[in-house]
């Protein structure tokens, strides 16, 4: 073996040493380096040098300390996330579309919501109910002409996920919108005016609500 070939082999082995040390080497390269370590007197010293680099790099990394409150802050951020559509197989395209919608910032999602709501009207004959996994969209089966409603404008920075959760928890449905000024028509399944006003107050108290305007109240008093 010439001096040049020997140097080339040494270079190759020195390049592979870090991967030998981290245990990721396999096959022919692992055999080659073990053969080199067994037969070249310089190899063991080289391995010792690589071990020193290994320790030095580990020490340089571990002197960086992540913040102690990282997990709690992450958990809070995670709670604000709707995440992608995760319904069981067979979930409708409509539900999946709304699932994706809830993952968007509200400001971005409004335009998509408007387009999707238009599709709900068209598709409601084929997909009765239009019920998604994240919140419910009023469909053809709801007698919208008779349902009480309120007009609600959400803050631009509001998270669709928060809104979806809130609507779902309170039996509210988006019945229409957004209008040009970003106002949604929210169907409210209240039987009495007292219930209606209570729900209106609840909507208005949400941090994502910008404005709430009374619409049609329940027909019966209360």
């Amino acid at each position: 073996m010439s001096a040049a070939e020997k140097m080339s082999r040494r270079d190759e082995m020195e390049t592979l040493l870090p991967f030998y040390l981290n245990g990721s080497l396999e096959g022919a390269e692992l055999e080659a380096i073990e053969e080199w370590l067994a037969n070249d007197p310089a190899a063991m010293a080289a391995l010792g040098e690589a071990e020193a680099e290994f320790s030095g790099t580990a020490a340089a990394n571990e002197q960086i300390r992540p913040p102690a409150d990282a997990l709690s802050r992450f958990a809070k951020a995670l709670d604000a996330e709707a995440g992608p559509a995760r319904a069981p197989a067979g979930r409708s395209w409509l539900a999946q579309a709304f699932g994706r919608l809830t993952a968007m910032p509200a400001g971005v999602a409004w335009a998509a919501a408007a387009a999707l709501l238009a599709l709900v009207v068209v598709q409601s004959f084929d997909q009765p109910g239009g019920k998604g996994g994240d919140f419910e969209i009023a469909g053809a089966e709801d007698d919208l002409a008779k349902m009480p409603f309120a007009l609600v404008k959400f803050k631009p920075e509001a998270k669709m996920a928060d809104i979806a959760t809130f609507l779902d928890q309170n039996g509210l449905k988006i019945a229409g919108g957004p209008a040009a000024d970003g106002v949604f028509r929210i169907a409210i399944a209240a039987e009495t005016e007292a219930d209606y006003k209570k729900l209106l107050g609840l909507i208005a108290a949400q941090p994502f609500a910008d404005a709430v305007i009374e619409g049609r109240k329940p027909a019966s008093g209360g």
């Binding site: 040494r10 020195e14 245990g23 067994a38 680099e53 790099t57 571990e62 960086i64 992608p84 995760r86």
Partner: protein
């Protein structure tokens, strides 16, 4: 001293880390499956397992712990969002480092150096001393740490990924989106530069 015995001991020691890592990764994949089904507790477990390494990886790349904090959080939120699409073609740790790398480079392009605040600047190695003077004040281990830190980013990152993150040549290629041959070339030059720096500081290790 039995040379073969010594090599065997070293090989056993080095190879021992890998099976343990593989076993942990299988659990990682099981956790990602749970995340894909909407299990938030599984994300938190993955966060606890991998956050420190992701954080350090980004901090080393950007030189900013503030950036590392933001990006590491984003990486795990991305895990939550993308878990249903994870096909398991790479290890979860490799996948996370790849996301971190992409996000760090994107943010660096946007923010450039002005992100480095006073606190972070305090971590940048002090250049007041020449390398020779600085080396006289420290032992070989400390000098080595400083030389690793002083490597160009494209070289230091392969050193970090191999030595600290335990990544294979192929995995480093995935994280950095470069061919395997390029990983090896960068590793060769990184180690060559370390050797030259050590030699200049009076620690001749016989190569290069």
């Amino acid at each position: 001293m039995n040379l073969f015995g010594s090599i065997g001991d070293r090989a056993d020691r080095s190879q021992a880390a890998r099976p343990a890592m593989t076993a942990a990764t299988e659990t990682d994949r099981a956790l990602v499956d749970r995340v894909a089904k909407g299990d938030r507790a599984a994300v938190r477990l993955l966060f606890m397992r991998h956050h420190a390494r992701v954080y350090r990886f980004v901090a080393r790349q950007t030189g900013s712990e503030m950036m590392a904090d933001d990006i590491a959080n984003e990486v795990f939120l991305e895990l939550w969002r993308q878990a249903p699409g994870f096909e398991g073609r790479s290890e979860v740790s490799t996948w996370l480092l790849g996301i971190a790398r992409f996000k760090a480079l994107s943010l660096l392009r946007k923010k450039k150096e002005d992100w480095i605040d006073d606190d972070d600047a305090a971590q940048v190695p002090d250049s007041a001393d020449t390398p020779e003077v600085a080396t006289m004040k420290e032992d070989k281990g400390a000098a080595l740490r400083r030389f690793v830190d002083a490597l160009p980013e494209e070289h230091r990152v392969v050193i970090d990924l191999a030595y600290y993150h335990g990544q294979s040549v192929t995995e480093i290629g995935e994280v950095l989106s470069i061919p395997v041959a390029t990983v090896k070339t960068r590793m060769f030059y990184a180690r060559k530069k370390l050797g030259e720096a050590l030699k200049a500081a009076g620690y001749d290790r016989g190569w290069p």
